[in-house]
């Protein structure tokens, strides 16, 4: 449909901001979404992600800044003159029109007379060919959602905006629609900008994710990059779970930083530290629960050299099928979370057991200690 190398589908926001009275919904923001990508704006409710999306659609007027579609400045254009279409959270299907007319709406408004073939093709794409003459309320939630997508896509917009499009669906249907949307995006090659508060959804679908918090983009990157290399505690906590240890920079050896935490030493690759690393400075050392191995204190000698290690006592353990989740009480961090795959379970690892936690230093990340280690914990779904 659209040539995927055509740069006219880039979305560029420069210094875009939105204030309501004294409240700032979006702080001046620069963002480029390349043509043909699946881009997600991820954040808790009230973080400014929907406002950003509505400014791209033209439904909200920015207080400052510019919106570019390709080389065209569309900031002053009303929504009906922008080559951009939206899939709304509540779908916003027209209740008085049948499915066919809902999908044909955009084409008819642009003065096209023969829409039948296009509408039928589009309904086939979303597998709703049979339902063309039904009214929206006669369809299930998942079907309505697909109509909303078809109604927007039929106009071949340069950019498709999706505002929490899966929020109203149950979990199973949501999984199905995530894959479905991803398939459609690959098929039509249109730029998708997807707003969601569900980190799993964002990571499953998007090529690039921008994590927003308090009207600002905290971090932008591929899902794997954001997960493995968070640069703020908010990102580290909002995407999955993280353990933090407050440590002091002791020395540097090659490309690694050696840190002092409690009585022990931890090694952190300098490239994975987003905090200043002058000797004596404080750093928050983070590590994901599934990167950590748990060994009973009696077997501590068997742990290979060169791994970061911490001692502690198991405070709690819960078996959840694929893994067992332990909470470990350690001198450097009161509740360290460890997820162990249920492969060979050591029967001694029960609450009260003395253990050694150890992990590959390459899985460690370092953050600025000046921030709240719990930021984003509550907002995470």
């Amino acid at each position: 449909m659209t040539n995927t190398t055509d740069p006219s589908g880039d979305v560029r926001l420069t210094g875009i901001a939105k204030t309501y009275g004294s409240f700032t919904a979006v702080h001046p923001l620069d963002l480029t979404v390349p043509q043909g990508s699946f881009f997600a704006l991820l954040g808790a409710s009230g973080c400014g992600k929907t406002t950003t999306l509505r400014m791209i659609a033209g439904l909200e007027e920015p207080s400052a800044g510019t919106v570019f579609l390709g080389d065209q400045d569309v900031t002053a254009l009303p929504p009906y003159k922008r080559p951009v279409n939206t899939v709304f959270q509540s779908y916003a299907l027209f209740p008085h029109l049948d499915i066919f007319e809902n999908v044909a709406f955009g084409l008819r408004r642009r003065g096209l007379k023969s829409v039948k073939k296009q509408v039928e093709e589009m309904l086939e794409l979303v597998q709703l060919g049979e339902q063309a003459r039904k009214k929206p309320h006669q369809l299930s939630g998942g079907q309505q959602q697909r109509v909303a997508v078809a109604r927007a896509l039929i106009n071949h917009p340069k950019v498709l905006l999706l505002d929490e499009p899966l929020g109203a669906l149950d979990l199973k249907l949501r999984r199905q629609m995530q894959l479905e949307l991803k398939r459609i995006q690959t098929e039509v090659g249109i730029t998708f900008i997807h707003v969601t508060h569900d980190q799993e959804e964002a990571m499953t679908m998007a090529d690039t994710v921008a994590v927003m918090n308090g009207g600002r983009v905290e971090q932008l990157g591929t899902p794997a990059d954001l997960y493995e290399n968070p640069r703020t505690t908010f990102v580290a906590n909002f995407l999955g779970t993280s353990n933090f240890i407050e440590a002091e920079v002791d020395s540097k050896s090659g490309e690694d930083i050696v840190l002092k935490a409690g009585g022990g030493k931890l090694v952190l690759p300098e490239a994975r530290c987003s905090a200043p690393t002058s000797t004596g400075g404080k750093v928050l050392v983070g590590v994901r629960p599934e990167k950590i191995s748990l060994t009973h204190a009696d077997d501590a000698g068997e742990i290979p050299e060169g791994r970061n290690r911490i001692t502690g006592r198991i405070a709690d353990s819960s078996f959840i099928g694929v893994s067992t989740q332990y909470v470990v009480d350690s001198p450097v961090c009161p509740d360290f979370e460890v997820y162990a795959q249920n492969i060979d379970r050591d029967p001694r690892l029960v609450p009260g057991a003395e253990v050694v936690l150890h992990w590959n230093p390459a899985h460690t990340f370092g953050l600025d200690a000046a921030q709240d280690a719990d930021a984003g914990v509550e907002e995470a779904a």
Partner: protein, 266 residues
């Protein structure tokens, strides 16, 4: 106790039939007596079957003239009240402005106020303004009291309407005018239609306010009232029956259209 059991089983149906009879009996009497050939001037006692009145509905002087006046007033009052009322309803639901709460209660006032009080105060107003009583004063009065009913009906509809629908229309290349005509209006239409029907019925049969502010103009309800003092011509029953049939036809047509639509959908 077979009878008690039978009664228990059919109680709802019986109650329904009794209520229906209660509602329909007056209409039946009106219809039956439109075929009467009364002896005196009063059409209160059955004498014999006749089609005289049906053949000559305008046979009584001034009857059809008053009917025409009533229909004209009802038409313009409906148009005026529906137009203004719809705009007011949209403003009250969609916009936050100063005194919105006050306007909301003021609109309700004509419905709550006794008609006779409103009639008298309107007359005082018209006389003080030196207005010529007649067609126009009746029309102004009717638009005023119909307005609150239209606003109430349309407001309920607009309130239940998702503002996102209009955003979706704008997003799909519909300009402000197209959005209004293609989305806003069709969705609000049932509320507007209900308000308009209510306005027409209220205006057509209003007596108290009209009687105060009519001057020398005579509407159909005033004609019926006036003639009842001296005798009731059979033609009044003819007009009443005709109105009833027209109303029933309207309902039947809308039911048929609704059924056909449902069948198409299924």
């Amino acid at each position: 106790m077979p009878f008690v059991n039978w009664l228990k089983r059919h109680l709802v149906v019986i109650a329904g039939l009794v209520t229906l009879a209660y509602l329909l009996l007056p209409n039946i009497i009106v219809t039956v007596f439109s075929f009467n050939k009364p002896k005196g001037r009063f059409n209160y006692e059955w004498q014999q079957f006749s089609l005289d009145a049906w053949k000559d509905p305008c046979g009584v002087s001034d009857l059809c003239g008053s009917l025409s006046v009533s229909l004209q007033i009802a038409f313009w009052a409906t148009l005026g009240a529906t137009l203004l009322g719809t705009l007011i309803a949209f403003a009250l639901v969609r916009y936050r402005f100063r005194a919105r709460g006050a306007v909301n209660s003021l609109i309700f006032l004509p419905m709550a106020m006794p008609e006779v009080v409103m009639a008298a105060s309107l007359l005082t107003l018209f006389l003080n303004m030196g207005a010529q009583l007649g067609f126009w004063t009746i029309l102004i009065a009717h638009i005023m009291f119909c307005l609150s009913f239209v606003v109430t009906a349309v407001k309920a509809r607009v309130m239940s309407m998702d503002p996102k629908l209009e955003e979706a229309a704008r997003d799909l290349y519909a300009g402000p005018f197209q959005t209004f005509v293609r989305v806003t209006l069709p969705i609000a239409a049932p509320g507007i239609a209900a308000g308009a029907l209510l306005a027409f019925a209220l205006s057509f049969d209003d007596f108290i306010i009209t009687n105060f502010n009519a001057g020398s103009t005579v509407t159909f309800p005033m004609f019926v009232w006036g003639s009842a003092q001296r005798g009731t011509p059979v033609q009044i029953n003819v007009i009443g029956t005709a109105m009833f049939i027209v109303a029933v036809l309207f309902v039947l047509i809308s039911v048929v259209i609704g059924n056909r639509r449902n069948r198409q959908k299924a």
